[in-house]
Symmetry: C2
Subunit: 252 residues, 2 copies
DNA sequence: GTGGGTGTTGCGCCATGTGCAACGGTCATT
DNA sequence: AATGACCGTTGCACATGGCGCAACACCCAC
């Protein structure tokens, strides 16, 4: 592994916490100021870091463009998008698409609710992994040792009284989800919001993404939302078929 | 400037165009495979690059999280957001917030239209810089030599017959915008979409961001949209006041 | 089997990244 | 004004760490 690059990249999460000046960066990296300066300059030249008027550094705009382009050529997303839109048109609620990658679950697409009351979420935001329906779906598909390893390492914040309290409960929940092939989050993240979700599978049967429909209590009750389950599952299956069909014909 | 870091960072835009395998990366970087491997490994360890099943590399999830955190501690955005929401509630159309940074204009926030017909755009996406109302507002505030320099270097794609055709026309347009303190885009990007925008200014009077309201012809005509101008300007001024008020009390 | 295509490893050389120390600018204090 | 403290910046000599090479390990196709 390359030391120089390693140091340079360590600057990014550091700056993600807020702007910092040269001295602070050097100190937190444990290197001489001149070294930090050279690294920052290189990052700057690539637009990953921006220097504001007060001379302090913060993360740069190129980061957005990159993240943007990255998300745009995820093929699952591209294939799923029209289905998400259609699902949204049928039920009116917020629709999410999420993937699992390197111990994180994150939203890669979203179609907003047509109702005025919307839940707050944003593409790229890491999901509340212990409670979200999509997170359960994605993790449930991992091998048993992987699930255990992850479950052990997680925190279990009690967002509400219905949040998953600990690793044991989480693993049991994953077993259920794995068995039944769909998942819910009934007020586990925010008291008044419920979700139903279903998995998207690749040609080999492995779960490659998960989608869910979310709605607040004030719009529909949990029972009403559950009546959408067949529709959600059908949509997810349709995406799976599309995805499996095209997954072999990758562009050069 | 650091060679190693420079090479490593050059991999990112390369992968943004689509996944690539080790050989391709090495070739396009002009370095030996072993070197490329070491760089990719380092990027991987920081989560900026992900290795998919077919062994090819693509951009990783950490990029999203970083871009996300970065956008979240831009203070203009935080301050402007409630105003954008309010503006959206009053007029119902799509509202954008954009900033200029290092020769790029990009959206940093957006509130979706309440009408079913929506324009496609996404936070982080670089703006059509020669035609968008927000781009004109941000560039109009630069010094005269800066404006000239940028205008010379730009391409002037004719999205529609009303797009800005060349540098001369663009500079004249910027002069008008600078003078009047607001800007429009009437079908310059997409034939059927119009925008009105106004600048957000910092305590020193410089333009720090720009906001706009966009709507397709099928919902309101250009004339009707222009009647919203006073509302847009008032909102932008309100943001400017909020921003100037808090700009001195930066958190430690 | 055999061959061409991958990705990976160990190594010796020297380019390159490193810390140091000295410089220059800005701001607050007296 | 003069002083000094603080920050970012520069040039330099040293040796660390990154480099390409070549050999290896692997997989798939033929």
């Amino acid at each position: 592994m390359s030391q120089t690059v390693d140091r340079a990249l360590s600057i990014l999460p550091l700056l993600a916490q807020g702007p910092a000046d040269l001295g602070q960066v050097a100190e937190r990296l444990g290197v001489h100021k001149s070294t930090a300066l050279r690294l920052l300059r290189t990052l700057h030249e690539h637009g990953l870091v921006y220097r504001q008027q007060d001379q302090r550094y913060r993360l740069g705009a190129r980061l957005f463009s990159l993240a943007q382009e990255a998300v745009e050529n995820l093929d699952v997303r591209e294939i799923a998008h029209p289905h998400l839109v259609e699902l949204n048109e049928r039920c009116g609620h917020t629709v999410h698409l999420a993937v699992y990658e390197e111990h994180e679950v994150l939203y890669i697409d979203k179609v907003e609710s047509r109702y005025p009351v919307r839940m707050y979420s944003r593409i790229g935001k890491p999901v509340a992994i212990t409670v979200a329906a999509v997170a359960k779906l994605l993790l449930a598909d991992l091998t048993e040792p992987e699930r255990r390893a992850i479950a052990e390492r997680l925190d279990y914040p009690m967002y509400t009284s219905r949040s998953t309290p600990n690793a044991g409960a989480f693993l049991r929940e994953l077993a259920v989800v794995r068995e039944q092939g769909w998942a819910t989050d009934l007020g586990g993240h925010e008291e008044s919001i419920n979700c139903v979700g279903a998995p998207v599978r690749g040609a080999d049967g492995r779960v490659v993404a998960a989608m869910s429909v979310s709605a607040p209590n004030v719009v529909v009750t949990a029972e009403e939302l559950l009546t959408l389950l067949p529709l959600v599952r059908r949509t997810a299956d349709a995406v799976s078929r599309d995805y499996s069909g095209t997954t072999h014909t990758k562009k050069a």
